[in-house]
Chain length 496, copies 2
Amino acid sequence: MFDSAELGQSLDKASFKAREPELREALLEAQFDLRDAGFSVVVVIAGMEGSGKGELLHRLLEWLDARGVAAHAMRAPSDEERERPALWRFWRRLPRRGRIGVFLGSWYADLFLSEGSESKLESPLRRIVEFEDLLADDGTLVLKFWLHVTKKNQRKRFEKRAEDPHDAWRVTKRDWDLHERYDELIERATHVLRRTDTGTAPWEIVEASNARFRDVTVAERLLAALEERLARPAPEPPAAPELPVPPAVNLLSSLDLEKRLDEDEYEQGLDRYQGRLGLLVRELAETKRSLVLVFEGPDAAGKGGAIRRVTRALDARFYRVVPIGAPTEEERAHPYLWRFWRHLPRYGEVRVFDRSWYGRVLVERIEGFATPEEHRRAYGEINAFEEALADDGVVIVKFWLAIDEAEQLRRFEARERTGYKRHKITADDWRNREKWAAYEAAACEMFERTSTRAAPWTLVAANDKRHARVEVLRTVCERLEELRGPTDEGKKRKKR
Amino acid sequence: MFDSAELGQSLDKASFKAREPELREALLEAQFDLRDAGFSVVVVIAGMEGSGKGELLHRLLEWLDARGVAAHAMRAPSDEERERPALWRFWRRLPRRGRIGVFLGSWYADLFLSEGSESKLESPLRRIVEFEDLLADDGTLVLKFWLHVTKKNQRKRFEKRAEDPHDAWRVTKRDWDLHERYDELIERATHVLRRTDTGTAPWEIVEASNARFRDVTVAERLLAALEERLARPAPEPPAAPELPVPPAVNLLSSLDLEKRLDEDEYEQGLDRYQGRLGLLVRELAETKRSLVLVFEGPDAAGKGGAIRRVTRALDARFYRVVPIGAPTEEERAHPYLWRFWRHLPRYGEVRVFDRSWYGRVLVERIEGFATPEEHRRAYGEINAFEEALADDGVVIVKFWLAIDEAEQLRRFEARERTGYKRHKITADDWRNREKWAAYEAAACEMFERTSTRAAPWTLVAANDKRHARVEVLRTVCERLEELRGPTDEGKKRKKR
């Protein structure tokens, strides 16, 4: 894998001086065009100790216009980062469209230094491939550089540094330990590079024994990739979306919407499950878990009311309701899921999403805000997103509150009569109502494609609000109880 | 202070039921109008244990439209928060215009429970007054509620809770300890409330022994304040700004811009101070400090070049350059300083601002983006901001790189000739040049008003780039050395 990076390639001072001005000019030129080009650039710099990752970063920052590039030389994660899914710290640093983000100590850092069997890496590697695929699909130009040094080069480099009074502190015992492990580490790196060398985000191996050659090579590849991408014609504007038609028999139409609770059953249900939920949520922190609730459903399905019955059981310090409406400018300048990553809870916390990332395959699909290609891709992206969360301790419970057209009409009309609910109904709501069948079809497709083991959908009959609310509370409790192992009560219930 | 909140005021169930629908409707109505009203609302809920802060929060969240309100019941600070100025965690949670933020365990929480002499509170109290003044001046409606319970009420409440099997866990040993300290704590609270009861952000004392009375009282005051503010006529559009005229003799005109270094002096200077700076910055983390560098000056004064000479001395993991251009939509929806609070460093880190919050009194003043009132207020806000930072371990070094008009012209022309610098010059730059005198006048006023002990300005003669770069490096080094106490070298220098 590294043969062509052990040829002793180098660049002498004079050639470097001769090439630098032109290279720099072209980079700035490309950066200038990038500003309005509608995509971002992510550069990963990886390599063994002594390959000069930091030096290369300094050089790139010198050549590029500082206003359009941010460098992220990652340190140990903060507690806010440790208590969230592994990729959270990188999502929060993703560059916005028109900008370049250079990552040193990237999402690969832990893998290159990991010990133990290769099979343990499978899951993190898959997450990385999914992450980079998502970026690339969103239009991000992803460039990954492995700076290669041989074991001999590495030793020479450490020795030279150790002799320099200015630099000696930079060679630590850890460096020499890593040098001892060179063969093992290069084997691990080979595996990681091979597994993540994808068509959308390929690795570039760069010979790094000569600093000038290394820096010019990376800069030239960055430039070529940028120029190639900038020269691509803008994509065709998408055609108007076709409204999907629901199958005659489907999950929603087969749901019995008429399930009801009377006042007593309702009060008992609330009391029982709210008490239990309060206790269960207090256990989350100890077990390094957090809870994400997703509420979807037609307008006026009763999402807000159901959410309040959940949050009333919770300590205000540990939950937040996140209402999802139109994205902000900063959110639009990032990949679609960025705005949801932003709001992920820490261990012990609950986040309730009042509408969610599923907007992509519902309203955005039907109104044509997402292209057909985008909404089709979204299923996979969302499944990967939820799986990554679940792997890192996030419990996800997703609700679809189902009402029928007649019930919605009754509620709309009632809202228009009730003063304080008047603002809850807008012209958009009436318009959406006309597309009822399309929404139903989109929802059914969504259930089919995104009901995963990590995050199954729960369809709740919601024509009766009382039934829906208790059902939601019960489902959350049972989900949390399942995860901590069967309780006595749980066992009893299963027997019945 | 609490006499009128110990009258035993309460509201019976029937009256509560009768008032609730109308109150709720009016709140939603007001919230609806708030959405486009261009200001935000900050609600602080404070009070002793047992006053029902959490219950009140739950009730408010039930009455308000969840889409326009966020509750922040603060927990212990994260490490990202602990390593930044105290108010950072609240700045990051400020609601955007059109929204309501409710804070429980706010910036007051530590003060109410603090022990020791009142004089120790002076500095934190002053910061709070400054902070709330800034919010109010920015148009934020700041409402602060103290929920008052007597010692007797508190005991009753704890006893009642302890008897309830659902609630017993909520009464902890800490609660009873606080109950023991009631008299001392209420005295401390009185002091804090008095000192922070300002015209722009007054405290409302609310009798809290009866939950219904408490909740309706707070909601009604919130409503009245919202309605009053919404009814205020929109402010007059500001008149075009008057361009300031510089005094004939001023700090800039009296600066000797012709100081020069030859190539050898330059190389020696870089070498000497970059080495020193690298070492000094590595000491920051140990002493719980961070470093903020501010670079201002005319276009083409050489800010970017000077910054690169600084960052070259630093480990890429510990610094970031923050270029300040036009604010994003989210930034515009918050008070002016929000976008700078966002970028403050953690202990051990360096942030370099390429242009900064001083834009408010320079370009925004002169181009009329800030009203005359806003730019005049900005001096005080900025001084308070920098002082708060300095108090919490942030070392601030501010540079004005000074060049004269002729030098700027030479550099503009040279940039237009040099390909890779062509994009660094825009039509705006030529336009700004025509207002040279106004910028000079604004800068001189800025030096006078914002050169504080905590954060003095350093004017650097920059007609010669070499001189300017070494001067910048030297100043940063000396500033950091001063702070760690005199070194041998420092002592020698002072003797000379």
